[in-house]
């Protein structure tokens, strides 16, 4: 199985990605998808105008592939898509899309969740959030780290 990973410098259309994955996967049992939308309010309640997403020219895609392939193996996926925006992302626009296909729903859901947790803390993206008072670089929260760390427990996370 090929993990299909992509960094999208313009429009990310979750519906197009989902259609592609369903097309690829054939008669598998279940497909779980997660779409992240750029929030219009940040953690302090300020209005976000846009984000700028920096990435590394080579390591970012490598990190996405490594995460997707680990998920494919761990959850016996039949297909997996990970698409992440880069560049300027307007508030309200999709920023990330993850979909996983498996014979079993709980496995496909766990895979999508696992990928998203690891993307947040391990994929090489840097997010600068622009509000009326300028730009601010975002870092993972302690919740993000805790959620990602769950998957390294023996029980496979929460």
């Amino acid at each position: 199985m090929d993990a299909c990973c992509r960094i999208a410098d313009i429009n990310l259309q979750p519906e197009v990605e989902l259609a592609k994955l369903i097309d690829e996967t054939g008669a598998t049992g279940a497909i779980a998808s997660l779409t992240g939308i750029t929030r219009q309010k940040n953690a302090s309640g300020k209005t976000v105008i846009a984000l700028r997403l920096d990435h590394h020219p080579r390591l970012t895609l490598n990190s996405m592939r490594e995460i997707a392939q680990a998920a494919a193996q761990r959850f016996t996926l039949t297909a997996v898509h990970v698409v992440h925006r880069c560049g300027e992302v307007t508030a309200g626009d999709p920023i990330v899309f993850v979909a996983a296909a498996s014979a079993h729903r709980k496995a496909s859901m766990a895979a999508a969740d696992y990928i998203m947790d690891r993307l947040k803390t391990e994929a090489f993206f840097w997010k600068c959030e622009f509000t009326a008072s300028g730009g601010r670089w975002v870092e993972p929260t302690s919740d993000d780290y805790a959620s990602a760390a769950n998957w390294t427990d023996q029980n496979g996370g929460n």
Partner: protein, 81 residues
Amino acid sequence: MKLIFFGKLSDMIAPSLEFGKPAPGMTIRMLRDLLSERYPQSADDVLSGRLKTVVEDRLVGDETLLDGVEVVEFLPPVSGG
């Protein structure tokens, strides 16, 4: 030797800068200390345990020697998703 900075470090220091030839025996740790002195506003981030350093697309540790190294990349904590 070229230094490349990502995320907040690209704003605090520069997207990239030419460092010159490293002194013999110089390590990543010594380079980080030096950057933290030269760019005090970035000291917390340059010295943070969460900063990753990369040479030739591989993560390298603090004791790595810089002799012959052409590019070092500095990756602060990521924030994707």
